[in-house]
Symmetry: C2
Subunit: 353 residues, 2 copies
């Protein structure tokens, strides 16, 4: 990689800041009249309004949202905190939020934590200090408790948690039914004749991984299979971990019948490693992931996974928040919405054809 730097001519700056007072002076009106004209207040002459708007345009007036929000006490702004914006699940969730929030006249302030709890806290503070109307969030992998949220809650800033949520905190929550998703996957694997099914999971303080583990266990127990601790791999979310674990299994000659990973990425690592070693999928080992990342459709064999309706989750989260913001009556209840995810069966787990 190489970088070249060139320079060229520049457009000069006129540094005059136009306010409603400038407009007022120019038009021999009062600032309040300008304010009313610009905000389509009813009590104003039609001609005045148009004159003001025209002049504002000419002078390149830009309303100062800061001042306006400060004065009004609030400003149609919603904060979003998520672990990563480049995860399919989250980016579609954001698209869903936008589709609800923008038409309602709000804007979004998006923060990503990169799975870092300190970043999460400071983003949260930042949003609160910027006086957002509400916050929609999904916690990082490192986050174990929500004490830092409590104080904001008391201040009356509504929070909606989605997907990865914290226990013991009374806010609206929008979830996937991870237990059901994992149960569906595991049951499917069992139906395909796999018996010794292992599970790749993540930090179990996070609801999503705890629930997926639970769903897996439920299906196994239902099939009369005991789940022992050596069947559950806890730090197994990344492609690299998936590769590492499968390599170890191959070396130790302990390959299971099937792998159900709580992450598509570790499932990918497993799949690629098995392929590299010419181990047949789904014949010798079946594979299933979770989240239906776009690449699951492209691997060979295609990877069985679980679709989580992320856009719907985003929409619902946004609707609940806006509902709370716009209903003046203070409600005493929180809602808990849960979406049932959908098993997407592909060849990686289809032993019986």
């Amino acid at each position: 990689m190489q970088s070249i730097v060139q320079v060229y001519y520049f457009c000069p700056v006129e540094n005059k800041k136009v306010t409603i007072h400038q407009l007022a002076a120019k038009l021999n009106l009062s600032a309040s009249t300008i304010s009313r004209a610009l905000s389509d207040h009813p009590r104003i002459g039609k001609e005045t309004r148009e004159l003001v708007k025209r002049t504002a345009e000419e002078l390149n007036y830009k309303p100062n949202t800061l001042a306006s929000n400060l004065r009004k006490g609030k400003g149609k702004l919603i904060g979003v905190i998520i672990p990563r914006i480049n995860r399919n699940f989250f980016s579609y969730a954001i698209a869903g939020m936008e589709s609800v929030i923008n038409p309602a006249g709000y804007s979004l302030m998006i923060c990503q934590t990169n799975e870092n709890v300190e970043t999460e806290k400071s983003s949260f503070e930042n949003l609160i200090n910027n006086r957002v109307d509400g916050i929609i969030m999904s916690v990082s992998i490192q986050t174990t408790n929500g004490d830092y949220l409590q104080r904001a809650l008391k201040q009356g800033v509504p929070i909606v948690q989605f997907d990865r949520v914290l226990p013991n905190i009374d806010v609206d929550k929008v979830l996937n039914d991870n237990l059901s998703g994992a149960y569906q996957v595991t049951k499917h694997l069992l139906e395909q004749g796999y018996r010794n099914i292992v599970h790749f999971t993540g930090p179990l303080h996070l609801n999503i991984y705890a629930d997926r583990l639970e769903g897996y266990k439920n299906a196994m127990i239902e099939a009369g299979i005991e789940v022992t601790s050596d069947m559950v791999f806890e730090n197994a979310l990344t492609r690299e971990e998936g590769e590492r674990i499968v390599n170890e299994m191959i070396a130790a000659n302990t390959l299971p019948d099937a792998i159900f990973a709580a992450s598509d990425f570790s499932a990918l690592g497993a799949l690629l490693t098995l392929k590299k070693h010419k181990i047949e999928i789904p014949g010798r080992v079946g594979i299933a992931g979770f989240a239906n990342e776009p690449f699951t459709e492209l691997t060979e064999p295609g990877m069985t996974s679980v679709e989580q309706h992320s856009e719907e989750l985003g929409k619902t989260s946004a609707r609940i928040l806006i509902d709370r913001l716009e209903s003046n009556t203070k409600r005493e209840l929180c809602s808990l919405v849960s979406f049932k995810p959908k098993l997407i069966i592909r060849e990686s787990s289809l032993r019986k054809k």
Copy 2:
């Protein structure tokens, strides 16, 4: 998909907003003293400062950034406008920006336009009205001119354009050398013995597609091959378009030797369609994309593409902007930085082994 709704108990709100005046009253100090204490002003007693900070903590005081920014005239906030946050290129560019901007004490306000020029304009207005210190942006596919930027520029809000930039607008620019990237790809295909190479491209008013087309043409001409208009497909950026075009080629029996797509997605559509028809890649048709999306590594055969160093682009854009913000001397020049992208050769174009 199904959704269940439940409700449960709720945590009540204490709706008292704490300001520096509350703190002042409580401590029998003046608001200015509180302000100074909280912002670590030098002219303040150590004990007072600690007392104030402790009390602020106790009362759950949150500084009002709006008020502070309004008063100070500015607020350590940088706006980012991009087409889509879930494109690998852009999400890594953002990661790069964050890595520079956060340590410098700024925050990011991220807006995605979904390739819609109206959304782009309103996001832009919104950022300006929120008095961001500067804006880093990449325009949408629909954007053909930057008139709406000019007025903001005159107001002195610095703008850095990256990747997809507009001509005739004097701002700092950070680019990929798309011409070089496309030239490298095409030359590589030629070296592999492909002759009849077609090009999938996008709207040619966008620098990135115009430049890639140019690079492709340069290499072809250099090899003594004339590029005729039927060799260039203009609306060919999506997977669906890639599929459609290749299907038509197959039906019309006009398959080329190789396809160089300006987008990995249309290259993917082409690749999958060829595979479906059992047309050999790279034997019968060679394929190359652009952007090195993660899936290019996973297709079979792996897809040749071009890595664009998006994180570096993001970092550089951020550095240039911050530099401009923090250098008090007004500079008369804009910089133009260009990164040379890197050809990533995979099997989809490797006819000679």
